[in-house]
Protein backbone atom coordinates (compact mmCIF):
# COMPACT_ATOMS: atom_id res chain seq x y z
CA UNK A 1 0.00 0.00 0.00
CA UNK A 2 1.56 3.24 -1.12
CA UNK A 3 0.58 6.65 0.05
CA UNK A 4 -1.43 8.76 -2.32
CA UNK A 5 1.30 11.37 -2.20
CA UNK A 6 3.77 8.87 -3.61
CA UNK A 7 1.47 7.99 -6.45
CA UNK A 8 0.92 11.62 -7.32
CA UNK A 9 4.66 12.28 -7.35
CA UNK A 10 5.35 9.21 -9.49
CA UNK A 11 2.67 10.03 -12.04
CA UNK A 12 3.67 13.68 -12.29
CA UNK A 13 7.22 12.56 -12.93
CA UNK A 14 6.04 10.15 -15.61
CA UNK A 15 3.98 12.89 -17.25
CA UNK A 16 6.97 15.23 -17.22
CA UNK A 17 9.21 12.65 -18.86
CA UNK A 18 6.60 11.90 -21.51
CA UNK A 19 6.11 15.60 -22.16
CA UNK A 20 9.81 16.11 -22.74
CA UNK A 21 9.97 13.10 -25.04
CA UNK A 22 6.88 14.20 -26.93
CA UNK A 23 8.40 17.63 -27.56
CA UNK A 24 11.71 16.17 -28.61
CA UNK A 25 10.07 13.80 -31.06
CA UNK A 26 7.82 16.46 -32.54
CA UNK A 27 9.72 16.46 -35.80
CA UNK A 28 10.14 12.74 -36.09
CA UNK A 29 6.44 12.08 -36.25
CA UNK A 30 5.61 9.42 -38.77
CA UNK A 31 4.22 10.60 -42.10
CA UNK A 32 0.63 11.69 -42.02
CA UNK A 33 -1.95 9.17 -43.09
CA UNK A 34 -4.58 11.50 -44.51
CA UNK A 35 -4.79 11.41 -48.31
CA UNK A 36 -6.68 13.86 -50.51
CA UNK A 37 -8.04 12.79 -53.88
CA UNK A 38 -8.02 15.95 -55.96
CA UNK A 39 -9.30 16.57 -59.48
CA UNK A 40 -9.18 19.90 -61.26
CA UNK A 41 -8.20 21.49 -57.99
CA UNK A 42 -11.27 20.20 -56.18
CA UNK A 43 -10.82 17.81 -53.27
CA UNK A 44 -13.14 14.93 -54.11
CA UNK A 45 -12.37 12.78 -51.10
CA UNK A 46 -10.29 12.81 -47.96
CA UNK A 47 -9.25 9.38 -46.74
CA UNK A 48 -7.47 8.56 -43.49
CA UNK A 49 -5.44 5.49 -44.46
CA UNK A 50 -4.82 4.57 -40.83
CA UNK A 51 -8.54 4.05 -40.28
CA UNK A 52 -9.10 1.98 -43.38
CA UNK A 53 -9.96 -1.54 -42.29
CA UNK A 54 -10.78 -3.26 -45.53
CA UNK A 55 -9.57 -2.68 -49.09
CA UNK A 56 -11.95 -0.97 -51.48
CA UNK A 57 -11.89 0.73 -54.88
CA UNK A 58 -13.66 3.64 -56.43
CA UNK A 59 -13.65 5.21 -59.87
CA UNK A 60 -12.97 8.85 -60.61
CA UNK A 61 -14.26 10.24 -63.88
CA UNK A 62 -12.79 13.40 -65.33
CA UNK A 63 -14.75 16.12 -67.08
CA UNK A 64 -13.79 14.79 -70.50
CA UNK A 65 -14.79 11.23 -69.72
CA UNK A 66 -11.43 9.77 -68.70
CA UNK A 67 -11.48 7.42 -65.75
CA UNK A 68 -9.07 6.31 -63.04
CA UNK A 69 -9.72 3.48 -60.61
CA UNK A 70 -8.31 4.20 -57.16
CA UNK A 71 -7.53 1.30 -54.84
CA UNK A 72 -7.51 1.99 -51.10
CA UNK A 73 -6.02 -0.49 -48.62
CA UNK A 74 -5.20 -0.15 -44.92
CA UNK A 75 -2.28 2.24 -44.87
CA UNK A 76 -1.85 2.70 -48.60
CA UNK A 77 -3.48 3.95 -51.77
CA UNK A 78 -2.76 3.82 -55.50
CA UNK A 79 -4.26 4.18 -58.93
CA UNK A 80 -4.89 0.57 -59.93
CA UNK A 81 -6.00 1.26 -63.49
CA UNK A 82 -6.69 4.17 -65.81
CA UNK A 83 -7.56 4.79 -69.42
CA UNK A 84 -5.00 7.55 -69.95
CA UNK A 85 -2.41 6.96 -72.72
CA UNK A 86 0.80 7.25 -70.68
CA UNK A 87 -0.21 5.17 -67.62
CA UNK A 88 2.31 7.05 -65.47
CA UNK A 89 -0.18 7.26 -62.63
CA UNK A 90 -0.57 3.46 -62.58
CA UNK A 91 3.16 2.82 -62.83
CA UNK A 92 3.89 5.06 -59.82
CA UNK A 93 2.48 2.43 -57.55
CA UNK A 94 1.59 3.04 -53.91
CA UNK A 95 1.42 6.45 -52.35
CA UNK A 96 2.11 5.65 -48.73
CA UNK A 97 5.06 7.48 -47.35
CA UNK A 98 6.43 9.53 -50.18
CA UNK A 99 6.45 13.29 -50.40
CA UNK A 100 5.41 13.39 -54.04
CA UNK A 101 1.79 13.02 -55.09
CA UNK A 102 0.62 10.41 -57.59
CA UNK A 103 -0.59 12.42 -60.54
CA UNK A 104 -2.56 11.65 -63.70
CA UNK A 105 -1.93 14.70 -65.86
CA UNK A 106 -4.34 13.95 -68.71
CA UNK A 107 -7.19 13.58 -66.25
CA UNK A 108 -5.93 16.29 -63.90
CA UNK A 109 -6.17 13.91 -60.97
CA UNK A 110 -3.83 13.84 -57.98
CA UNK A 111 -3.54 11.64 -54.88
CA UNK A 112 -1.63 13.55 -52.23
CA UNK A 113 -0.74 13.20 -48.58
CA UNK A 114 -1.91 15.98 -46.36
CA UNK A 115 0.17 17.39 -43.55
CA UNK A 116 3.67 16.51 -42.56
CA UNK A 117 5.54 13.95 -44.57
CA UNK A 118 9.02 12.56 -44.23
CA UNK A 119 10.45 15.02 -46.75
CA UNK A 120 9.17 18.49 -47.59
CA UNK A 121 9.48 18.06 -51.35
CA UNK A 122 10.88 15.67 -53.92
CA UNK A 123 13.33 16.67 -56.65
CA UNK A 124 13.13 14.66 -59.86
Amino acid sequence: MLKTKTWVAALVALAAVLAVLALALRHARAPGTVVEVVQDGVVLRTIDLARVTEAYSFTVTSADGGSNVVLVEPGRIRVSSADCPDQICVQRGWLSDQAAPVVCLPHRLALRLRGETAADAVAG
Binding site: G93, A100, A121, V122, A123, G124
Partner: protein, 336 residues
Protein backbone atom coordinates in the same frame (compact mmCIF):
# COMPACT_ATOMS: atom_id res chain seq x y z
CA UNK B 1 -17.27 27.56 -8.30
CA UNK B 2 -16.11 30.50 -10.42
CA UNK B 3 -12.90 28.67 -11.21
CA UNK B 4 -14.87 25.73 -12.60
CA UNK B 5 -16.87 27.95 -14.90
CA UNK B 6 -13.80 29.75 -16.15
CA UNK B 7 -12.13 26.49 -17.10
CA UNK B 8 -13.83 25.99 -20.49
CA UNK B 9 -13.05 29.59 -21.36
CA UNK B 10 -9.40 29.10 -20.50
CA UNK B 11 -9.30 25.92 -22.53
CA UNK B 12 -10.83 27.69 -25.51
CA UNK B 13 -8.26 30.45 -25.20
CA UNK B 14 -5.47 27.90 -25.14
CA UNK B 15 -6.75 26.36 -28.34
CA UNK B 16 -6.95 29.78 -29.95
CA UNK B 17 -3.41 30.69 -28.95
CA UNK B 18 -2.14 27.40 -30.29
CA UNK B 19 -3.41 28.47 -33.67
CA UNK B 20 -1.50 31.75 -33.64
CA UNK B 21 2.01 32.14 -34.91
CA UNK B 22 3.24 31.52 -38.45
CA UNK B 23 0.43 30.33 -40.68
CA UNK B 24 0.98 28.00 -43.59
CA UNK B 25 -0.78 28.68 -46.85
CA UNK B 26 -0.57 26.54 -49.93
CA UNK B 27 -1.60 26.39 -53.55
CA UNK B 28 -1.52 23.65 -56.16
CA UNK B 29 -2.07 23.99 -59.89
CA UNK B 30 -1.14 22.63 -63.31
CA UNK B 31 1.24 24.63 -65.49
CA UNK B 32 4.10 24.00 -67.93
CA UNK B 33 2.72 20.49 -68.46
CA UNK B 34 3.26 19.55 -64.86
CA UNK B 35 1.88 19.67 -61.33
CA UNK B 36 3.09 22.55 -59.18
CA UNK B 37 2.70 23.18 -55.48
CA UNK B 38 3.59 26.12 -53.28
CA UNK B 39 3.77 26.00 -49.49
CA UNK B 40 4.45 29.39 -47.99
CA UNK B 41 4.28 30.80 -44.48
CA UNK B 42 2.73 34.20 -43.84
CA UNK B 43 1.53 34.42 -47.42
CA UNK B 44 -2.04 35.42 -48.10
CA UNK B 45 -4.26 33.94 -50.81
CA UNK B 46 -3.77 36.98 -53.05
CA UNK B 47 -0.01 36.48 -53.12
CA UNK B 48 -0.34 32.83 -54.02
CA UNK B 49 -2.83 33.65 -56.73
CA UNK B 50 -0.36 36.14 -58.14
CA UNK B 51 2.27 33.42 -58.12
CA UNK B 52 -0.01 31.13 -60.11
CA UNK B 53 -0.75 33.94 -62.56
CA UNK B 54 2.97 34.68 -62.93
CA UNK B 55 3.67 31.12 -64.00
CA UNK B 56 0.72 31.07 -66.38
CA UNK B 57 1.92 34.31 -67.91
CA UNK B 58 5.47 32.99 -68.26
CA UNK B 59 4.19 29.91 -69.98
CA UNK B 60 2.01 31.98 -72.26
CA UNK B 61 4.95 34.10 -73.33
CA UNK B 62 7.74 31.60 -73.54
CA UNK B 63 6.36 28.14 -74.23
CA UNK B 64 7.50 26.72 -77.53
CA UNK B 65 4.25 24.81 -77.89
CA UNK B 66 1.96 27.82 -77.52
CA UNK B 67 1.20 29.14 -80.99
CA UNK B 68 1.15 32.78 -80.01
CA UNK B 69 4.10 32.80 -77.62
CA UNK B 70 7.12 34.96 -78.30
CA UNK B 71 9.18 31.85 -78.85
CA UNK B 72 6.74 30.40 -81.37
CA UNK B 73 6.86 33.66 -83.34
CA UNK B 74 10.67 33.51 -83.29
CA UNK B 75 10.73 29.95 -84.52
CA UNK B 76 8.25 30.71 -87.29
CA UNK B 77 9.66 33.97 -88.57
CA UNK B 78 13.31 33.90 -87.52
CA UNK B 79 13.20 37.01 -85.39
CA UNK B 80 11.22 38.61 -82.59
CA UNK B 81 11.56 41.36 -80.03
CA UNK B 82 11.35 39.66 -76.65
CA UNK B 83 9.76 41.12 -73.54
CA UNK B 84 12.18 42.27 -70.86
CA UNK B 85 11.73 39.11 -68.83
CA UNK B 86 12.03 36.86 -71.88
CA UNK B 87 15.18 38.61 -72.99
CA UNK B 88 16.71 38.31 -69.54
CA UNK B 89 16.00 34.59 -69.52
CA UNK B 90 17.40 34.06 -73.00
CA UNK B 91 20.54 35.98 -72.12
CA UNK B 92 21.16 33.80 -69.05
CA UNK B 93 20.38 30.65 -70.98
CA UNK B 94 22.75 31.50 -73.83
CA UNK B 95 25.47 32.31 -71.33
CA UNK B 96 24.98 28.88 -69.80
CA UNK B 97 25.16 27.26 -73.23
CA UNK B 98 28.52 28.96 -73.67
CA UNK B 99 29.75 28.10 -70.20
CA UNK B 100 28.93 24.42 -70.73
CA UNK B 101 30.54 24.46 -74.15
CA UNK B 102 27.34 23.51 -75.89
CA UNK B 103 26.40 20.58 -73.65
CA UNK B 104 23.29 22.69 -73.13
CA UNK B 105 22.07 23.95 -76.48
CA UNK B 106 18.72 25.71 -76.74
CA UNK B 107 18.56 25.05 -80.48
CA UNK B 108 18.41 21.26 -80.16
CA UNK B 109 14.60 21.46 -80.31
CA UNK B 110 14.17 20.14 -83.89
CA UNK B 111 16.09 17.03 -82.91
CA UNK B 112 13.90 16.46 -79.85
CA UNK B 113 10.88 16.86 -82.07
CA UNK B 114 12.24 14.42 -84.67
CA UNK B 115 12.44 11.70 -82.03
CA UNK B 116 8.77 12.30 -81.27
CA UNK B 117 9.01 13.71 -77.76
CA UNK B 118 6.73 16.63 -78.49
CA UNK B 119 3.90 14.58 -79.93
CA UNK B 120 4.48 11.24 -78.18
CA UNK B 121 4.66 9.76 -81.65
CA UNK B 122 8.00 8.15 -80.91
CA UNK B 123 10.38 7.10 -83.68
CA UNK B 124 14.08 6.64 -84.35
CA UNK B 125 15.30 9.07 -87.04
CA UNK B 126 17.91 7.71 -89.44
CA UNK B 127 21.48 9.03 -89.65
CA UNK B 128 20.83 11.15 -92.72
CA UNK B 129 17.88 12.89 -91.13
CA UNK B 130 19.86 13.58 -87.97
CA UNK B 131 22.81 15.02 -89.93
CA UNK B 132 20.48 17.41 -91.65
CA UNK B 133 18.93 18.41 -88.36
CA UNK B 134 22.27 18.84 -86.63
CA UNK B 135 23.21 21.45 -89.22
CA UNK B 136 20.53 23.62 -87.63
CA UNK B 137 21.81 23.08 -84.08
CA UNK B 138 24.30 25.70 -82.94
CA UNK B 139 23.53 28.15 -80.16
CA UNK B 140 26.47 30.36 -81.16
CA UNK B 141 24.54 31.56 -84.20
CA UNK B 142 21.79 33.08 -82.10
CA UNK B 143 22.05 36.86 -81.85
CA UNK B 144 20.48 38.77 -79.01
CA UNK B 145 20.54 42.57 -79.13
CA UNK B 146 20.50 44.81 -76.10
CA UNK B 147 16.93 45.83 -76.82
CA UNK B 148 15.80 42.21 -76.68
CA UNK B 149 15.59 41.50 -80.38
CA UNK B 150 16.65 37.95 -81.06
CA UNK B 151 17.45 36.52 -84.46
CA UNK B 152 18.10 32.95 -85.50
CA UNK B 153 19.33 31.61 -88.86
CA UNK B 154 16.86 29.93 -91.18
CA UNK B 155 15.71 26.56 -89.97
CA UNK B 156 16.86 27.03 -86.38
CA UNK B 157 14.29 26.74 -83.59
CA UNK B 158 14.78 27.49 -79.91
CA UNK B 159 13.19 25.85 -76.88
CA UNK B 160 13.51 27.12 -73.34
CA UNK B 161 12.14 23.94 -71.79
CA UNK B 162 15.46 23.12 -70.14
CA UNK B 163 15.47 26.36 -68.18
CA UNK B 164 11.85 27.51 -67.98
CA UNK B 165 10.88 25.80 -64.72
CA UNK B 166 14.06 26.93 -63.00
CA UNK B 167 13.44 30.48 -64.16
CA UNK B 168 9.83 30.30 -62.99
CA UNK B 169 11.05 29.10 -59.63
CA UNK B 170 13.38 32.08 -59.33
CA UNK B 171 10.63 34.52 -60.29
CA UNK B 172 8.19 33.02 -57.80
CA UNK B 173 10.78 32.96 -55.03
CA UNK B 174 11.42 36.65 -55.66
CA UNK B 175 7.70 37.39 -55.73
CA UNK B 176 7.26 35.67 -52.38
CA UNK B 177 10.25 37.41 -50.82
CA UNK B 178 8.98 40.78 -52.02
CA UNK B 179 5.66 39.86 -50.45
CA UNK B 180 7.33 39.44 -47.08
CA UNK B 181 7.57 35.67 -47.06
CA UNK B 182 10.65 34.28 -45.34
CA UNK B 183 9.80 30.62 -45.45
CA UNK B 184 8.43 28.73 -48.44
CA UNK B 185 9.00 25.64 -50.51
CA UNK B 186 7.88 25.27 -54.12
CA UNK B 187 7.71 22.12 -56.16
CA UNK B 188 7.43 22.84 -59.86
CA UNK B 189 7.06 19.38 -61.32
CA UNK B 190 10.23 18.06 -59.76
CA UNK B 191 12.10 21.39 -59.65
CA UNK B 192 12.30 22.37 -56.02
CA UNK B 193 12.82 25.99 -54.99
CA UNK B 194 13.09 27.13 -51.39
CA UNK B 195 12.76 30.52 -49.77
CA UNK B 196 14.62 30.69 -46.50
CA UNK B 197 14.44 27.70 -44.18
CA UNK B 198 11.51 25.98 -42.52
CA UNK B 199 9.48 28.14 -40.13
CA UNK B 200 11.14 26.46 -37.16
CA UNK B 201 14.60 27.28 -38.47
CA UNK B 202 15.67 23.86 -39.72
CA UNK B 203 16.70 23.51 -43.35
CA UNK B 204 14.15 22.04 -45.74
CA UNK B 205 14.29 18.31 -46.34
CA UNK B 206 14.32 17.72 -50.08
CA UNK B 207 14.20 14.09 -51.12
CA UNK B 208 15.88 13.07 -54.38
CA UNK B 209 14.13 10.46 -56.47
CA UNK B 210 15.94 7.19 -57.15
CA UNK B 211 16.16 6.88 -60.94
CA UNK B 212 15.94 3.10 -60.76
CA UNK B 213 12.70 2.65 -58.92
CA UNK B 214 10.03 3.99 -56.67
CA UNK B 215 12.07 5.04 -53.69
CA UNK B 216 14.36 7.94 -52.88
CA UNK B 217 18.13 8.19 -52.94
CA UNK B 218 18.13 10.24 -49.79
CA UNK B 219 17.43 13.68 -48.42
CA UNK B 220 19.24 16.93 -49.11
CA UNK B 221 19.00 19.70 -46.53
CA UNK B 222 18.54 22.95 -48.40
CA UNK B 223 17.74 26.55 -47.48
CA UNK B 224 17.22 29.49 -49.82
CA UNK B 225 18.31 27.41 -52.81
CA UNK B 226 16.99 25.39 -55.68
CA UNK B 227 17.29 21.63 -56.07
CA UNK B 228 16.76 20.41 -59.62
CA UNK B 229 17.05 16.86 -60.90
CA UNK B 230 17.23 15.74 -64.53
CA UNK B 231 17.22 12.17 -65.64
CA UNK B 232 16.53 10.04 -68.66
CA UNK B 233 13.96 8.14 -66.63
CA UNK B 234 11.65 11.18 -66.66
CA UNK B 235 10.66 10.82 -70.30
CA UNK B 236 11.69 7.96 -72.52
CA UNK B 237 10.50 5.28 -74.87
CA UNK B 238 11.81 1.87 -75.88
CA UNK B 239 12.36 1.50 -79.61
CA UNK B 240 11.71 -1.59 -81.74
CA UNK B 241 15.21 -2.87 -81.11
CA UNK B 242 14.68 -2.69 -77.37
CA UNK B 243 16.95 0.29 -76.84
CA UNK B 244 15.89 2.89 -74.29
CA UNK B 245 15.72 6.38 -75.81
CA UNK B 246 15.21 9.38 -73.55
CA UNK B 247 14.42 13.05 -74.06
CA UNK B 248 17.79 14.52 -73.03
CA UNK B 249 19.64 14.92 -76.32
CA UNK B 250 23.35 15.24 -76.94
CA UNK B 251 23.50 18.33 -79.19
CA UNK B 252 26.71 17.08 -80.76
CA UNK B 253 25.37 13.75 -82.00
CA UNK B 254 21.63 14.18 -82.24
CA UNK B 255 21.12 11.04 -80.19
CA UNK B 256 19.87 10.73 -76.61
CA UNK B 257 22.84 11.52 -74.40
CA UNK B 258 24.46 8.29 -73.20
CA UNK B 259 27.34 9.53 -71.13
CA UNK B 260 27.07 7.04 -68.32
CA UNK B 261 24.75 9.05 -66.12
CA UNK B 262 21.14 8.20 -65.28
CA UNK B 263 20.33 11.18 -63.09
CA UNK B 264 21.87 14.54 -62.18
CA UNK B 265 20.80 16.73 -59.26
CA UNK B 266 22.11 20.29 -58.97
CA UNK B 267 21.78 22.42 -55.86
CA UNK B 268 22.44 26.15 -56.04
CA UNK B 269 21.20 29.65 -55.39
CA UNK B 270 19.47 30.12 -58.74
CA UNK B 271 16.84 27.83 -60.19
CA UNK B 272 17.63 28.73 -63.79
CA UNK B 273 21.29 27.76 -63.32
CA UNK B 274 20.43 24.50 -61.55
CA UNK B 275 17.90 23.65 -64.24
CA UNK B 276 20.35 24.34 -67.05
CA UNK B 277 23.23 22.53 -65.40
CA UNK B 278 21.17 19.47 -64.55
CA UNK B 279 20.68 18.97 -68.30
CA UNK B 280 24.19 20.01 -69.30
CA UNK B 281 26.00 17.81 -66.77
CA UNK B 282 23.83 14.87 -67.81
CA UNK B 283 25.05 15.32 -71.38
CA UNK B 284 28.66 15.81 -70.26
CA UNK B 285 29.01 12.63 -68.30
CA UNK B 286 30.69 12.17 -64.92
CA UNK B 287 34.25 13.10 -65.84
CA UNK B 288 33.48 16.30 -67.70
CA UNK B 289 30.88 17.21 -65.07
CA UNK B 290 33.44 16.85 -62.30
CA UNK B 291 35.88 19.06 -64.24
CA UNK B 292 33.16 21.62 -64.78
CA UNK B 293 32.39 21.70 -61.08
CA UNK B 294 36.02 22.10 -60.15
CA UNK B 295 36.31 25.00 -62.58
CA UNK B 296 33.24 26.84 -61.29
CA UNK B 297 32.35 25.62 -57.79
CA UNK B 298 29.28 27.84 -57.52
CA UNK B 299 26.90 24.94 -57.15
CA UNK B 300 26.73 21.45 -55.64
CA UNK B 301 25.71 18.33 -57.48
CA UNK B 302 24.83 14.69 -57.15
CA UNK B 303 25.43 12.33 -60.07
CA UNK B 304 24.04 8.83 -60.39
CA UNK B 305 25.95 6.65 -62.81
CA UNK B 306 24.82 3.71 -64.91
CA UNK B 307 27.10 1.37 -62.96
CA UNK B 308 25.55 2.07 -59.59
CA UNK B 309 27.66 4.87 -58.15
CA UNK B 310 26.40 8.02 -56.46
CA UNK B 311 28.92 10.86 -56.83
CA UNK B 312 28.61 13.87 -54.54
CA UNK B 313 30.42 17.17 -54.33
CA UNK B 314 32.04 17.62 -50.90
CA UNK B 315 29.69 20.45 -49.96
CA UNK B 316 26.66 18.32 -50.70
CA UNK B 317 28.03 15.22 -48.97
CA UNK B 318 27.92 17.17 -45.73
CA UNK B 319 24.20 17.74 -45.99
CA UNK B 320 22.96 14.62 -47.72
CA UNK B 321 21.46 11.73 -45.79
CA UNK B 322 21.31 8.54 -47.85
CA UNK B 323 18.10 6.53 -47.66
CA UNK B 324 18.03 3.38 -45.53
CA UNK B 325 19.43 0.39 -47.36
CA UNK B 326 20.69 2.44 -50.29
CA UNK B 327 22.30 0.09 -52.79
CA UNK B 328 24.43 2.68 -54.56
CA UNK B 329 28.11 3.15 -53.87
CA UNK B 330 28.47 6.65 -52.49
CA UNK B 331 31.65 8.51 -53.49
CA UNK B 332 32.71 12.09 -52.90
CA UNK B 333 34.09 13.95 -55.91
CA UNK B 334 37.76 14.77 -55.48
CA UNK B 335 38.52 18.39 -54.79
CA UNK B 336 41.38 18.69 -57.24
Amino acid sequence: MTARRLLPLVLALCLLLAGCGARENSAAFYAMSTYMTIRAWDADDALLRRAEETVAELEQRLSVTREDSELAVLNRTGTVRLSADGAALLRRALALCAATDGALDLSVYPVVRAWGFTTQDYRVPDAAELDALLARVDYTRVTLEDDGTVTVPAGMELDLGAVAKGWAGDRLAQLLRDGGVTSAILSLGGNVQTVGARPDGDAWNVAVRDPSGEGMLGVVRAADEAVVTSGGYERYFVDDAGVVRWHIMDPATGYPARSGLVSVTVVGAEGVVCDALSTALFVMGAERAEDYWRAHRDFECLLVTEDGALLLTPGLAARFTPADGLSYEVRVIADA
